[in-house]
Amino acid sequence: MANSREADALAADASTNYIREKFGIDDAIASSVLDAALSCGGDYAELFFEHKEAGSIVFEQQAVKNATRSLSQGMGVRVLSGEAVGYAYSEDLDLAALRKAAETAAKIAARDEKTPPIDVVHYETPQYYSPEGSTVDIPAQDKVDLMVRADRAARAYDPSIARADINIVDELKHIAIYTSDGRMASDVQPLVRFNVSCLSERDGSRQTARWGGGGRMGMAYFEGSSPEALAEEAARQAVLLQSSVEAPAGTFPVVLGNGDSGILLHEAIGHGLEADFNRKKTSNYSGRIGELVASELCTVVDDGTIDESRGSINVDDEGNMPRKNVVIENGILQGYLQDRISAGAFGTQPTGNGRRQSFKHYPMPRMTNTYMLGGTSDPEDIIKSVSKGIYCVAFSGGQVNISNGDFVFSVTEGYLIEDGKITAPMRNVNLIGNGPDVLTKVTAVGHDFKLSDGRWTCGKDGQSVPVGVGIPTTLVSAMTVGGTNIG
């Protein structure tokens, strides 16, 4: 979204006003707290103010079962002394409480020489999304209507659908960051997710499937994606599992469907390219910039600037602007995802990937929207090229061991490929691979790039942040499929 400079100036004014309104904070107060944070000689300090309203409505058996709403707010203060971090936070936002937290974090340093904070300049942030129309403050009945529509659609899909469990979760988060090196930035971050879980019961056999979507949007999300479509998708997957067969056990070619399969990139390479692991040399990708780490067909991007995507941010949680970062270009490792500390260690610039779950958490390098660019192959030809393998469409999650590179992801909708044709649906199965190994085995990339709908959350060191993934149809020539059929 393009925006004029005039609009930016207005936005900056508005942000100053809401920070005063939400937090009772102005530049003078922030400066006084930063001063306390550097009172023991720290090199750098930053304040992260957050005000978050979140809600959920749970709908089951054709009725609203309950509704929730929560308010959390506070300030986290981080002080750096070299690469060492002192961190404290407070939910009370009066000056005495803020200074007390700052003085606690300050103790990480023990130096006589003090660096006073520089007066902050208010940075203008881009607007890849807008809080307008956020679902948090609209009448609850409007959200209930969406769930009623989804419920009807799920039941109508198939007589075997015995339950539809639906919920909508949303939040509106105001953040403001003040740094001792003179930066002030703020953002208002809407987030909505609509989830449907369906139970199919047929002749005593029970199968469940989940589906959902969302983004950094308000009600506009439901203009692009109807609740009916989300519900039918969950119902379709549950019914499909009724006729599923055992998945094979062993090593096979794997065709990853476009969109959701981007979770492979997130696990196989995304985490390994987060700069903290590389600074500490605990990642398999440490010291490999400039080397071929993937098939030449692979160009992988982490991009926090996609309009209204779940993983997008207008500013990261350290006050840096998000970017479109090409991490792998034609198979060659270009760089890591940097936060402030790691960028300092590598002598480079932050890449806008410093993120945190909340004011109670320290920032670290995190992904935003991670995806692989489209290639030239026809997706149908990719399927046809496989004589015996599997085709994966939907997933429930993944995990990686950063150090040894082993990663897994769990397939919830997958099929056998026999003689170049997609045949029987498979029962839920896990795939395991080794990141650096699997990406060298990408032998075809389709021209059908797709970003997944906004339903992914990434966990690292106990902190959750919303992310996006995307990928075109991709062939991995060999991966271990954890089925039960040894056949």
Binding site: E60, K65, S70, G74, Y362, Q399, F407
Partner: protein
């Protein structure tokens, strides 16, 4: 930390009643966390902070809403109650909604489960830092093959939770926990890294393992993985090392939830009273153990805690219920309500304890001609509705009764029902980590996917 939680909780209840709630309970929590993390013998991060929050569940005309806030000023709490009553109007009346029956509540007295260690109050950040440094150093000293560390940390939390409801229940209890952890990393010959971590977590400082023991254990586990390779695809008997049995218990703990039962989304639905597991499988949920991480004097709704036998001689005895899921299924609550700030209560486990058997754990391996010793699982590949289990794994090959070489990048799969039935040996070793106590076990056969 705040001392006035119980009066805040009872104040919320009073106000909600005054404003028209039929039934209400309030849950208020306060905690202080302190941690010291070191890496490569340098301080990496110190965290020191306190927090608090209040949550209210109101039920009016059988309609339920839950609201929470971190702002504990009288004005904000008043707004919280009004917000909850307003929000409840959008829910449909639910005949099962409500607080527990009065005779279920722990009204008279609550057991003292020794969940609080005063020594944690006076533990300094410097002492915690020194402990973390000793832990990491012990990992490096264990073997020169340990070349890197992902850091060592000591952390403590002190907390108080208070619960009050409109039936006159009002109680609070303090709790602490302390932990020490480290991750050791080695370089393998193929350029890969091999890593493992170990930790100790307890309510009281004096129950923690020595920092040096934790360091050596992490190092030993990482070094043992050097030279790991894949296996051929096959089926093998599998010995589950005690630490990884906890992953199995966690899955069973989810599958016994009364919530999944009424959603018919657990493979255990319809199997109450039936023989599901091997006769060697005896599993208990016990919230009354002194000093354990999962212990609680009363549950998240104020219901008396009790020991529940989940599996006895392999027979599945039944599910864990809070008051809502119990009413819904025509049962009684089992005192299993878990509570968080931002959601209604729901049933969950406290401490899961798998009864040890009589075989020395080494014997589990000795009897195997060709098998797998499972040490690590990864991923989320479990379908709780069907019991289908498929997860990434690491471990060791067992040949002729002996552990021979480490294996990695394999997958183990089966169905939880069959897996429980296939347990043919349970060790006499019991490892307590956090809220689970488990011995090692052996399953007669699992599918291994590899090359």
């Amino acid at each position: 930390m705040r001392e006035d939680l119980l009066s805040i909780a009872t104040g919320i209840v009073e106000q909600a009643r005054k404003l028209g709630a039929d039934e209400v309970d309030a849950y208020v929590a306060s905690s202080a966390e302190t941690s010291a993390r070191v890496r490569m013998a340098e301080v990496e991060r110190i965290i020191d902070a306190t927090s608090h929050a209040a949550s209210v569940r109101v039920i009016k005309d059988k309609r339920t809403a839950v609201c929470s806030t971190v702002d504990l000023t009288p004005k904000a709490l008043s707004a919280l109650v009004r917000q909850a009553l307003e929000l409840a109007t959008i829910a449909e009346p639910d005949e099962y909604a409500g607080l527990p029956d009065r005779d279920e509540l722990a009204l008279a007295s609550q057991p003292n489960l020794k969940l609080y260690d005063e020594r944690i109050e006076s533990l300094s950040i410097d002492e915690m830092k020194d402990t973390a440094l000793r832990c990491e150093q012990a990992a490096f000293d264990y073997d020169s093959k340990v070349t890197n560390s992902d850091g060592a940390e000591m952390s403590v939390t002190r907390g108080v939770v208070a619960l009050a409801n409109s039936m006159g229940f009002a109680a609070s209890y303090p709790a602490t926990n302390a932990a020490i952890m480290v991750e050791a990393i080695c370089d393998d010959e193929d350029g890969k890294k091999r890593n493992d971590s170990w930790y100790t977590v307890e309510r009281a400082l004096h129950n923690l393992e020595d920092a040096e023991y934790v360091g050596r254990k992490a190092a030993a586990r990482a070094v043992a993985k050097l030279g790991a390779r894949k296996l051929e695809t096959t089926t093998l008997p599998v010995v589950w090392e005690a630490p990884v049995v906890r992953a199995l218990l966690a899955l069973i703990g989810e599958a016994v939830s009364g919530e999944l039962l009424y959603r018919r989304s657990t493979f255990l639905a319809g199997l109450e009273g039936q023989q599901v597991g091997s006769p060697l499988f005896n599993l208990v949920d016990d919230p009354l153990l002194e000093g354990r991480l999962g212990s609680r004097p009363f549950d998240g709704e104020g219901v008396r805690s009790r020991t529940v036998s989940l599996f006895e001689g392999g027979a599945f005895n039944g599910f864990l219920f809070d008051s809502y899921t119990a009413r819904r299924m025509g049962r009684k609550t089992t005192g299993a309500a878990g509570r968080s700030l931002s959601a209604p209560p729901s049933p969950g486990t406290s401490n899961l304890v798998l009864t040890p058997g009589e075989e020395p754990s080494e014997r589990l391996i000795e009897g195997i001609e060709d098998g797998l010793l499972l040490t690590d699982l990864m991923g989320f590949g479990v379908n709780k509705t069907t019991g289908d289990f498929s997860r990434g794994a690491q471990g060791f090959r067992i040949e002729k009764g002996k552990v021979t070489y480490p294996v990695t990048e394999i997958n183990v799969s089966g169905n939880l029902k069959d897996m429980l039935a296939s347990i043919d040996a349970v060790g006499d070793d019991v490892l307590w980590l956090g809220s689970m106590g488990a011995p090692s076990i052996r399953m007669s056969q699992l599918t291994i996917s590899g090359i």
